[in-house]
Symmetry: C3
Subunit: 460 residues, 3 copies
Amino acid sequence: MGPQKNTYIRISLPAVCFVWQIAMVLLFGIFIRYNEEADAHWVEHKQQHNLTDIDNDFYFRYPSFQDVHVMIFVGFGFLMTFLKRYSFGGVGFNFLIAAFGLQWALLMQGWFHSLDQDTGKIYIGIENLINADFCVAGCLIAYGALLGKVSPVQLMVVTLFGITLYAVEEYIILNLLHCRDAGGSMVIHCFGGYYGLAISWVLYRPNLHQSKHNEGSVYHSDVFAMIGTLFLWMFWPSFNSAITNHGDGQHRAVINTYIALAASVVTAVAISSMFHSKGKLDMVHIQNATLAGGVAMGTSAEFMISPYGALIVGFFMGIISTFGYVIVTPFLAKSLKLQDTCGVHNLHAVPGMLGGFIAAIVAAFASDSVYSHQGLINTFDLTGEYASRTMSTQGGYQAAGTCVAMAFGLIGGAIVGLILKLPIWGDPADDNCFDDEAYWEVRAFEFDEATGQHEVTEEA
Amino acid sequence: MGPQKNTYIRISLPAVCFVWQIAMVLLFGIFIRYNEEADAHWVEHKQQHNLTDIDNDFYFRYPSFQDVHVMIFVGFGFLMTFLKRYSFGGVGFNFLIAAFGLQWALLMQGWFHSLDQDTGKIYIGIENLINADFCVAGCLIAYGALLGKVSPVQLMVVTLFGITLYAVEEYIILNLLHCRDAGGSMVIHCFGGYYGLAISWVLYRPNLHQSKHNEGSVYHSDVFAMIGTLFLWMFWPSFNSAITNHGDGQHRAVINTYIALAASVVTAVAISSMFHSKGKLDMVHIQNATLAGGVAMGTSAEFMISPYGALIVGFFMGIISTFGYVIVTPFLAKSLKLQDTCGVHNLHAVPGMLGGFIAAIVAAFASDSVYSHQGLINTFDLTGEYASRTMSTQGGYQAAGTCVAMAFGLIGGAIVGLILKLPIWGDPADDNCFDDEAYWEVRAFEFDEATGQHEVTEEA
Amino acid sequence: MGPQKNTYIRISLPAVCFVWQIAMVLLFGIFIRYNEEADAHWVEHKQQHNLTDIDNDFYFRYPSFQDVHVMIFVGFGFLMTFLKRYSFGGVGFNFLIAAFGLQWALLMQGWFHSLDQDTGKIYIGIENLINADFCVAGCLIAYGALLGKVSPVQLMVVTLFGITLYAVEEYIILNLLHCRDAGGSMVIHCFGGYYGLAISWVLYRPNLHQSKHNEGSVYHSDVFAMIGTLFLWMFWPSFNSAITNHGDGQHRAVINTYIALAASVVTAVAISSMFHSKGKLDMVHIQNATLAGGVAMGTSAEFMISPYGALIVGFFMGIISTFGYVIVTPFLAKSLKLQDTCGVHNLHAVPGMLGGFIAAIVAAFASDSVYSHQGLINTFDLTGEYASRTMSTQGGYQAAGTCVAMAFGLIGGAIVGLILKLPIWGDPADDNCFDDEAYWEVRAFEFDEATGQHEVTEEA
């Protein structure tokens, strides 16, 4: 351990956890209630409104919610187990961030979107849970850029501010600009990616090479990471369709995402092979760039981009993202002093930004003939004050929304990075990064066949 | 291998498997038929009753069923892979117990709940499959206390009696006492936990320290166990809502469980860190105590406990369960001679029991004003002979139900433990516990880079 | 590496990926459109046809689709990670095959089943996605017989032809012969199994024993494979019910499959134990033979086989499949020169074929009294030109369909095998099989505690 750094967090971590969790209890007590579909009054409500149980939004969204939930905890969590001795931190801190973050997200998003002006309460249902998971995804993406270099206390700070920033940018993009962003290319991936990159840039460690022996994977840690990759890949259609319109909206978002992801795999394999002297594949590319099609389809998944449109998006994203891992990440590390452990620049920031702009173009060309008149109104929610908005205007707003997401990520991340530079957070020394022994009681890295005993590498 | 113990099971294991499986075939032939929603007559049934296909209960419960199914096989199974050389036994015997147990559960629960008095047949549908999985969960919890110390033949005995006891206590609690227990804090966790603990107590091994070198985890076995933890954690909302009322019942149970689990994670992390000299986290706590909120919300998940109520339950369960792992388990091992491999006392027995009593209190304070008149009747099924039951009476019965579950677990477990002491079951010697080589053909623990060959450690 | 073989694929793999992916973009552009349930016109369509959103087929099939999707990518993928140093190839090439294959399947199956004669377009919805996943499953089964012995370029060829053959045999079996085959015992498992076996037989390697040191598992690779096994096992009810009739069809297929699988586990354990001198279990059997009940129930899952009928099927399949692994595979390897890495003969080919014939018998004995008149018509789709087909005739056609599937697999596989013998595909030498270093940049097999550094075994 370096001389000036101390990973002692026995006071700070419990303190932060307790203070924030108690705050959640109080705020939930003041603000959060069940909405009419989850409240026991439903039995009377449905009679009054001539509904049946199957009309409950629960049945339209619960399967998608659970898929999203798996993406957040197993998908992101296991994707970050690839480091040879930071798997506990990868999956464990992911768990902590998400479990705290979703509580704060229910409140932050609730105040902006589900607050009843009369009662002053936030009424929650299944869609709020999905949105809370989405909100958390932004912070987990940011964690990808910081993996192995920060303390869990710092991650709680990243999460608190990340959720807050997310709720504000989401409100601006979805409500004030009236953008559509079903799968969050803009509000989740573009924001989360640049948020993490900006923090990482501020926290630049000139001597990180001292932990070089811990950076990188071993055989089985790469297989663990494939669990994360595949659950993200498989359930991405649910992610992009979870909060789209009932009926064709969910149906179409699934088809578009399914198709885009398939193309990403094939082109990521092609580029990965091209860049190796013998044509061998690199697990880093297979674990990450195969997902880029899903990121970029986030915003336009519900649009009539058409199946071949989705295929083209996936085609190019697989290429761009793999190029990013091969060329751009090393370049950024050298020239911009940007240390991006998981390469979120290539998987989230850039595909998210491109996804936002692609959707702007698709929206600008949307027409009654392709969508039907009702279908166009329905897809873009062109009702009330937005009834007269033209599609080219909508396209402009979509592009503006992408810029807002990026700006929030970069500026917010820079500020949070400065806060995290305070010498009170228990982050590891430069020669102690990417090592679970800093924050976890690690019993043994390998089974020792000779002695038949586990090596106690740590005194408790 | 010890002098008096012999793990030869080449006759006993196939014999038990065949006898019991053939019995299942015969009993299924006599008793089990499809219910009207799964029978080909449905096409006529729905016309007669003016139903459509979407009214089929299948569509209300199948997504939850599959989530529960994952919890049983991957959740419980992988949670028990944490031991360094008992991962095959953890996930493999879990598979065997569950696959046999669900068949016997369909029969036992069928006789009590789905037997048609006219035809003498049990008519099964999706809800029976969910309940069979629930029933199996009780036995898998018990397995957690026995992990590594018993033979697969003994586990088949534990399962046969465990399912039987479960069906009886469930009938007493749900039907005779008319308790509510949607997610089974009482009938599953409290019963299963004490059942396993009582068996383990009777089977106390004074010389178990001879296997000390095999107890404990290695790095990758802890990562495998996180697969189990996360699938349990993520799908627990489905577990607690799978058989609740259509509509608000399922919706509310999901919200409550989701919230309680989130709080458990944060407080489990806090306590785990507090008990280490440098504030480091212990994987045992993260793998287990994070789930305690889901256990304790089992009974009250469908009640109007309110979101902050769920948060408070999760808050305290994370603390209590982690304390249990740090303080209570070592104490029980020393003073009560209770060897509890997975700490089911802290994750299932105590949180389950507390969940039962919490629900009793929540039920006792339930009122028309909070639930609506119809909602209260609907939630507690206060119809027929129970129409005039007051809520404080209901609360008393809920508390009584918790005691019944505990009594069945303790007494049933003690008796089954005595049966398992017979020297015919092929259990391992004290110095041979927690070792897959007793019951599995293990080819090699590690890849040997030097020789490039796998070490054949076992002659077939 | 052998003298005549060269695994250099830096040109061939990217070339094949790009050519085929670009072909997909063009063909999707020409042919593929959203169907009326996924098109933005749905909002008008549902008004015209007096439908509501919940009538959208999406809500009947999406949960099952996602389960099938998990089976294809995680189930098949992780089942093939069992080899000690071919886990990347197992899960990674599975990913590539499936991602490319599903695109080609959407086209091939679309031309046969969803082509609108007026517009010349293929209109796709959720059922097409499920069928594309099914189609891919046939190729992944074939991959099981080839695992470790072929190059990714060869696998792309196997997939291109496999999907094509599948679409044709499926059209013959389902449309021309008017067979039922909901879960694909015939069209998926029987075809896919024999397709892979025939290819493997043509590609026989007399000196494969030179790679013997790489064949086989290590401890953790067997645990990884259990992830695949369990996700296949758990979600098989969704597989067999995904495209059955709404209502009772899906409900019954789930029950039958759930029951059959449970019995397979118990009898597979029994036989595995019987064949070991001390009664120890073999992971190969637990990973594979436990699934045989699901394969064999594929065709008859939607029939009124009755719960005990399903139990009997599972009972015998667990036995037959485990016998296959113990006796038949070694016999075939010696006498027939058939090298079947994963034993697809025992898990897919034989249980699939038997499942086809079992279903023929069950169909032949189907009657109005058991199904109801409407139910029989509904289950076997005996409408239009098939309204007068007797059930014994239907049984005959089902048996004929099984033979068609087998013939397509054997003949098609033999031809594809000959194509793959061309010396242009970059397949590994006999002493270089089952080794990820041939096609993957492998950083280190184990963490080296001594040096604290990962061994770079490969120059990029």
